[in-house]
Amino acid sequence: MSRQSNRTTDSKKMNSELFTLTYGALVTQLCKDYENDEEVNKQLDKMGYNIGVRLIEDFLARSTIGRCQDFRETADVIAKVAFKMYLGITPSVTNWSPAGDEFSLILENNPLADFVELPDNHNTLIYSNLLCGVLRGALEMVQMAVDVKFAQDTLRGDNVTEIRMKFIKRIEENLPAGEE
């Protein structure tokens, strides 16, 4: 009887563990392939970007969210809908800049980094850098150029994981030549 209910919670947990472990295997592979952490960080960002440009379509198909009116709304959608949908967590949105073009996502726990410890020789590795790429790629597809980086990381000894997102500009849709 209790085995049955364990199975369903296990299933959800297993999916995220499959993802977490696969991500870990990927980072390990990248560390083997590249000489230094900077390169690995770049690769993770690039791969994240590739995922982001496709993930956004999946997201828009699954959620019924319409176009966001402003950056604040975007922030809320990212934290409360997207993160919840894909990673099962709801980061908090804080530290808005006075101009309203920059904010932080605070993640109390980071599913990508479950079971992970960084060895001493990888001090500059941004383990979860894939997330930055994903956010950047996804937002670019909805006409927003943003800069995303990790400000704090529990893997590097900080108390929380903080992702800082800055709005750079709106990307104008390119119209084909000859049209107004």
Binding site: S11, L18, T22, Y23, L26, Q29, D58, G88
Partner: protein, 152 residues
């Protein structure tokens, strides 16, 4: 379900990465498949540890294979293996599964299956069985996994 999406996207990107970082086309193909399979193996080992943490000991190979087909597979792919055929003498098992409707491309299929074969091999290895796992797609969308247990 949305919680499968992150893994699927990551898996695709992983495959792209492995293939892009290879220097040549055809001759590297076997090595890339191996790389993917090895990655799957590491992940399988970790997963099976988590999944069987509180489970009782398995009686025999068949019991282990049934577990793989039911619980392990369900946890990964939300469904059980459709069919398990065994050949006791050779310790061979055939698992039949239907690939999800999304994957229609026969050429790319081996790349996608490599990781899964590794998952099974890794899981079995942590349950004490050394094996060779291969997959073939002869009739889409059905996919046949063959598990050959190696006697130590």
């Amino acid at each position: 379900m949305a919680d499968e999406a992150p893994f699927q996207f990551l898996h695709s990107e992983l495959i792209q990465y492995i293939y892009k970082s290879a220097d040549t086309e055809d001759t590297e193909n076997g090595r890339n498949i191996s790389k993917l399979e090895n990655l799957g193996c590491r992940v399988g080992q970790g997963l099976i540890e988590r999944l069987t943490k509180d489970a009782p000991r398995f009686k025999d190979e068949l019991d282990i294979m049934k577990f793989i087909c039911k619980d392990f597979w369900t946890c990964l792919f939300k469904k059980q293996i459709d069919n398990l055929r065994t050949n006791h003498q050779d310790s061979q098992f055939r698992l039949l599964s239907h690939l999800s409707a999304g994957k229609q491309y026969l050429d790319y299929a081996p790349k996608y299956l490599a990781f899964t074969c590794g998952l099974v091999r890794g899981a079995l290895s942590n349950l004490g069985l050394r094996s060779v796992v291969t997959a073939e797609i002869s009739d889409m969308p059905a996919c046949k996994f063959q598990v050959l247990i190696q006697k130590m």
